[in-house]
């Protein structure tokens, strides 16, 4: 049989076809990519994470699909009772059944201290361990983890997808971060990479990555605004795309954003509204965390509906038997989320001012992030810039694709593209009176540096304290504390010691500090104490501990997951059939019954084997066969609740 590939590139395997039982060819690519150290691009998002690579043959970046066939990995992590870690779609399901062992949107906690997230705690079910000091520790079941550790689980999951896809280990990555992430948030991301066993070559700002993917795709030049509205963060970047004789330059002129603003806020607005109305129906959901997660899921579905429909209906069965029935029109939805969308325009205006440009001078507008699917967002952006934004590229994938391009640049695969990014926040040192002296202004192209001279103020002073901060305010107390360090000096008269400290913000936007005694010319060691992060010793310790968690083989885990899913779907089907028999015998047609029985048998058979893909496929078949049954049951449940009530009472 001729297949048109060079033999060394493919391995053959045989796979029973699902429906017909015929054997068919199942081809995987392996061969040529073996033994080539591969750098991948990773979008570690608030809601979804993705991993991508540059396909050399096709000359374009591609996302790597996971076990469910989609490249989107929900950024959800769950810890089972036996201590095993579950990530992604399987973890997302556990939100509904084991919410106290599951966490979503952990990105909101990265690089922040317990005091910073008090507001978030009111609306997110984060269980912060009381022992948390400057690093947050989250409780999942009876275990405690820091946000970088949780993010590392997500990264490890993505890494395993890539390892499987390439049939080879992936060890180097480019990871994206919101452009407006500060130093502590970036360091936390880099720590997560390390904990996941990845060498993080570079952190790339999300809007810049999107611009790379977009530029490659569109081959346009000019002034571009990237409006990136994700699950938990908002970024706006203004870029100049230029062609020079050396190649294409992507130069960021300015960037701004809000690391506390995203689609989550829209979800929370809907939840607040729903909970209030449910409360007035006499039901308090705070005692039902699982039901709260179900409500959240239903409202997110409604939100998605409203992106394409002018109205949607929420039908949510409440604990206790009643139903929350709510129609939401687009008009009302827009009014509800208007303040959230308005908030995004504040950084937009500031970024344009910093770039010294007017909205009309922007030639292209690019939308990135799932939350840009909201019609009000699109309309607002279009009105402000006076032009229709570009949405051709999949807003979910574009950041990961751009990261893959950057990975390729670093590997030397691309010599004619250059990214010149900026630091989003001014870097400063605290001086007398608590005033901040800015040493590197915001929107400085990185790498950026500054050198400051320090000396002693009093006789026999043995240490010089330096407090480094990020932010735009005058006073240190209003800025973000990055780190403190002390320069040790031998005793002597005041003003004798002269130590030059060099501050360097690298291409990832992370601060490096080096000190030199000017008089001796010797390097002076600097021990930096991060204000909100893990220090190196802690990361080392975590790395050692993580080796103890012998990770199960990828396929083994997938098999266990698939089996669990199958069992739960079989049980649910069994119960549903029994219930239907009791409540409405005769509703179920013989044809339907045959389809369900057939699917059940096929699924049971597949469970005897070890092919997790096959088990999953039959789970889908059974779900499809039981959809009419489920709908009927739901309608009956709502009907009973509505019986005897008029719409006004619902």
């Amino acid at each position: 049989m001729s297949v048109g590939f060079h033999e060394s590139q493919i391995t053959f395997g045989f796979h029973e076809s699902l429906v017909t039982g015929h054997e068919s060819l199942f081809i995987t690519q392996g061969g040529t990519h073996k033994n080539m150290p591969r750098t991948v691009g990773i979008d570690l998002g608030t809601t979804y994470s993705l991993i991508a690579y540059q396909d050399k043959r096709e000359g374009r970046p591609k996302c790597i699909p996971g076990p469910y066939g989609t490249p989107l990995c929900p950024s959800v992590v769950s810890v089972d009772a036996d201590g095993s870690i579950v990530v992604g779609e399987a973890a997302r399901r556990r939100l509904l059944t084991q919410s106290e062992r599951t966490i979503y949107s952990v990105k909101r906690l990265m690089g922040r201290g317990p005091a910073d997230v008090q507001d978030e705690l009111k609306i997110f079910p984060f269980r912060i361990d009381p022992a948390s000091k400057n690093v947050i520790r989250v409780r999942l079941g009876d275990r405690v983890f820091t946000p970088p550790e949780i993010s590392a689980f997500i990264l490890r999951e993505l890494k395993s997808w890539a390892d499987e896809y390439f049939q080879d280990a992936v060890t180097r990555a480019v990871i994206t971060v919101p452009a407006y992430f500060n130093d502590a948030q970036r360091q936390a991301t880099r720590d997560a990479g390390r904990l996941a066993g990845l060498e993080v070559l570079r952190l790339v700002n999300e809007p810049t990555a999107a611009a790379l993917a977009y530029g490659l795709h569109e081959k346009k030049r000019g002034r571009v605004a990237v409006y990136d509205f994700g699950g938990g963060t908002f970024d706006i970047s203004i870029l100049k795309l230029i062609s020079t004789t050396d190649g294409d330059i992507y130069q960021v002129l300015s960037t701004n954003g809000d690391t506390h603003l995203g689609g989550d806020d829209i979800d929370n607005a809907l939840q607040a509204l729903a909970r209030e109305e449910i409360q007035s129906q006499g039901v308090d959901l705070s005692a039902h965390p699982d039901a709260l997660q179900e409500l959240r899921k239903a409202l997110i579905a409604a939100k998605h509906e409203l992106s394409s429909e002018s109205r949607t209906t929420v039908k949510f069965p409440l604990p206790g038997g009643s139903v929350y029935f709510r129609e939401i029109a687009r008009v009302e939805y827009d009014r509800l989320i208007h303040p959230i969308v308005d908030r995004t325009m504040v950084p937009v205006r500031q970024a344009l001012a910093d770039a010294k440009l007017t909205p009309a001078e922007i030639e292209e507008v690019v939308l990135v992030g799932g939350s840009t699917r909201v019609p009000l967002v699109r309309a607002t952006v279009e009105r402000y810039f006076g032009r229709a934004p570009h949405t051709e590229l999949n807003p979910d994938e574009v950041v990961a694709l751009g990261a893959a391009v950057q990975a390729d640049i670093l590997e030397g695969g691309v010599a004619d593209m250059l990214l010149l990014d900026v630091t989003p926040l001014s870097l400063g040192i605290e001086t007398m009176g608590g005033v901040v002296a800015k040493i590197i202004p915001r929107n400085s192209t990185v790498p950026a540096g500054a050198a400051e001279m320090f000396t002693t103020g009093v006789e026999n002073q043995t240490g010089i304290d330096i407090h480094v901060l990020q932010g735009e305010r005058e006073m240190a107390k209003d800025c973000r504390s990055l780190a403190r360090f002390q320069l040790k000096v031998p005793p002597g008269p005041a003003g004798l010691a002269r130590i030059e400290v060099k501050f360097l913000i690298d291409a990832s936007g992370i601060l490096q500090v080096a000190a030199r005694d000017v008089r001796t010319g010797e390097e002076h060691s600097v021990e930096v104490q991060p204000s909100y992060g893990l220090d190196d010793a802690e990361v080392e310790r975590m790395l050692e501990e993580s080796i103890e968690f012998a990770e199960q083989d990828f396929s083994e885990r997938q098999l266990i997951e698939a089996r669990n899913e199958a069992e739960s779907v079989l049980t649910a089907t069994h119960k549903a059939l029994a219930r239907e028999q009791a409540e409405a015998p005769g509703e179920l047609s013989a044809e339907e019954r045959r389809a369900i029985d057939g699917a059940v048998t096929a699924l049971r058979e597949s469970l005897a084997g070890t092919d997790y893909k096959r088990i999953r496929a039959f789970v889908d078949v059974l779900n499809q066969a039981t959809t009419p049954l489920a709908e009927r049951m739901m309608n009956r449940a709502i009907g009973t609740a509505l019986e005897g009530k008029n719409l006004g009472q619902v």
Partner: protein, 235 residues
């Protein structure tokens, strides 16, 4: 006759092949990236004389061209020493570009190099010729703040804001005048360099520039203060 370009001591040698490098970015012999000799100023980095009028387009082109050569992205697979050198050089490049690109920062930098940058004794001290205007402005600012706190009427707030807006406009004009003055002195400086003016003449020019910078800084702070107040929304 053109002003001489600042030269860096020709005693620098390549760390790899030992060829003399004269402070160049890359060794002419083996091509390896070089460390920055201490005392290289931003003008020399771009191969420019210490003149205050710069062709911005040419500067940007040079910036882009140097970025291609020095950026860490193109050293990702090189040895550790080269990566660190690239980091140092490209941060110097970015700092130099940022400074030389802005006409005011350019002057500040030049004065700094010569040790002639002396900021106003007290940052808050108004230059004598502006005393009256500054006094009036501070009065208006106070009035607005007080009215805001004690809940002034809509009409009151409007009239106070209008007063402040007029003051802002006046100071913005003043700022623009100062900038024009600075531009004139910049040209004078360049001419002086070209005609080989002596140190006394150059020092005098630098003192003038220093005074203008101080005045500019003061006026600009005023303009910003007013802008801040006006941006604050009054409900």
């Amino acid at each position: 006759m053109n002003a001489p370009i600042t030269t860096v001591a020709a005693t620098t040698h390549c760390w790899k092949c030992s060829a003399p490098t004269s402070g160049a970015h890359f060794c002419a012999g083996c091509g390896k990236i070089q460390p920055l000799p201490p005392g290289t100023d931003y003008f020399a980095f771009f191969g420019l004389a210490q003149k205050l009028t710069i062709d911005l387009e040419a500067l940007e082109q040079r910036f882009h061209s140097l970025s291609w050569k020095l950026h860490p992205d193109h050293f990702a697979r090189a040895a550790q020493e080269e990566r660190q050198l690239s980091l140092d050089r490209s941060s110097q490049l970015n700092d130099a570009y940022r400074t030389l690109r802005d006409p005011v920062a350019r002057v500040e930098y030049l004065l700094g190099l010569a040790g002639m940058r002396r900021e106003g004794q007290k940052k808050q001290q108004a230059p004598p010729e502006l005393l009256e205007e500054v006094f009036e402005l501070n009065e208006s600012l106070e009035e607005l703040r007080e009215a805001r706190q004690s809940g002034g009427t809509g009409a009151q707030m409007s009239s106070l804001r209008a007063k402040l807006e007029a003051a802002q406009h006046k100071f913005e004009l003043l700022l623009s005048d100062v900038d024009k003055e600075l531009a004139r002195v910049r040209s004078e400086w360049d001419a002086a360099l070209d005609s080989g003016a002596d140190e006394t003449a150059r020092k005098k020019l630098m003192e003038r520039m220093n005074e203008i910078l101080n005045r500019r800084s003061y006026v600009r702070n005023l303009v910003n203060d007013v802008r801040q107040e006006l941006v604050t929304r009054d409900s």
